[in-house]
């Protein structure tokens, strides 16, 4: 389901970031693109509004695994009051960090798949956000001899990869 009014959503994001820059004093520039062209066919993330940052303080956005970038994205999503299943329609990025992170997750998924195939035992990924877990689930979809589940609650929720015939003894 698309965001009902993308222009109005983009304007709200612009107003929020303008406050972050002016009141927070962060030297950031940003460009907001509605319906950005995607570099390739992909089914794991199709943002309808892309926000790209640059500027002297953009390194701060990427520090600690992109914590500030994700924080700004989350605040924008909450302000727009988008339901959880629409969150991936908005993407905040800086110096291609998002694409690099997706590549990293997909590579980790492939390594884990080989491990599970060889060992025959489950593999548990580190806890991740729902958006990142979705990328891992989708990356592993092509391994039809394996299956994935999300386990744990809240901030500790993580993807677990099982051999297809493995009987889960998890309490959940």
């Amino acid at each position: 389901m698309p965001i009902t009014d993308k222009i109005s959503a983009a304007n709200k994001i612009h107003e929020f970031l303008n406050v972050v820059v002016n009141k927070g004093g962060l030297r950031l520039k940003y460009r907001i693109t509605v319906d950005p062209p995607l570099p390739e066919e992909r089914d794991w993330e199709r943002p309808e509004i892309l926000v790209e940052f640059a500027g002297p303080d953009s390194a701060a956005l990427l520090a600690r695994g992109g914590a500030l970038l994700r924080a700004l994205e989350l605040l924008a999503l909450e302000m727009l009051r988008l339901p959880g299943n629409e969150h991936e329609k908005i993407c905040f990025d800086c110096r291609n960090q998002r694409s690099l992170r997706i590549e990293e997750l997909r590579a980790a998924a492939n390594v884990a798949a080989e491990k599970v195939r060889t060992s025959g035992t489950p593999y548990q990924f580190a806890p991740m956000s729902s958006r990142e877990r979705r990328i891992v689930h989708l990356a592993l979809r092509e391994y039809t001899d394996l299956r994935t589940e999300s386990q744990g609650e809240g901030l500790r929720r993580s993807v677990v990869l099982y051999p297809g015939n493995y009987k889960s003894s998890s309490p959940r």
Binding site: K23, G25, D57, A60, A71, L72, L74, L75
Partner: protein, 83 residues
């Protein structure tokens, strides 16, 4: 390097007002406590969940933003939510 200090209480107030149902009940007090500047955020009781967020995600995001401003200006800004 002389730079104007950031308006952190204005920043927190803007974000909180954008999140809640009762923006007129948002209040931010700025207090100096030793080396730190503490921002006390007060919202309507019914809006508390919105500024805290699921598993504290929203308040954590606001604190991450304040941490970045703290680093940028070599100060310490802290956010407390008054219950």
């Amino acid at each position: 390097m002389s730079e104007t200090a950031p308006d952190v209480s204005g920043l927190v107030e803007y974000i909180a007002k954008a999140m809640v149902d009762a923006p007129d009940q948002v209040l931010v007090k700025q207090l100096e406590e030793g080396d730190a500047t503490v921002l006390e955020l007060e919202v309507a009781e019914s809006d508390m969940g919105k500024v805290i967020g699921r598993q504290g995600r929203v308040v954590r995001a606001m604190r991450a933003l304040l941490d970045a401003v703290s680093d940028r200006f070599d100060k310490q800004y802290e956010l407390e939510i008054l219950e």
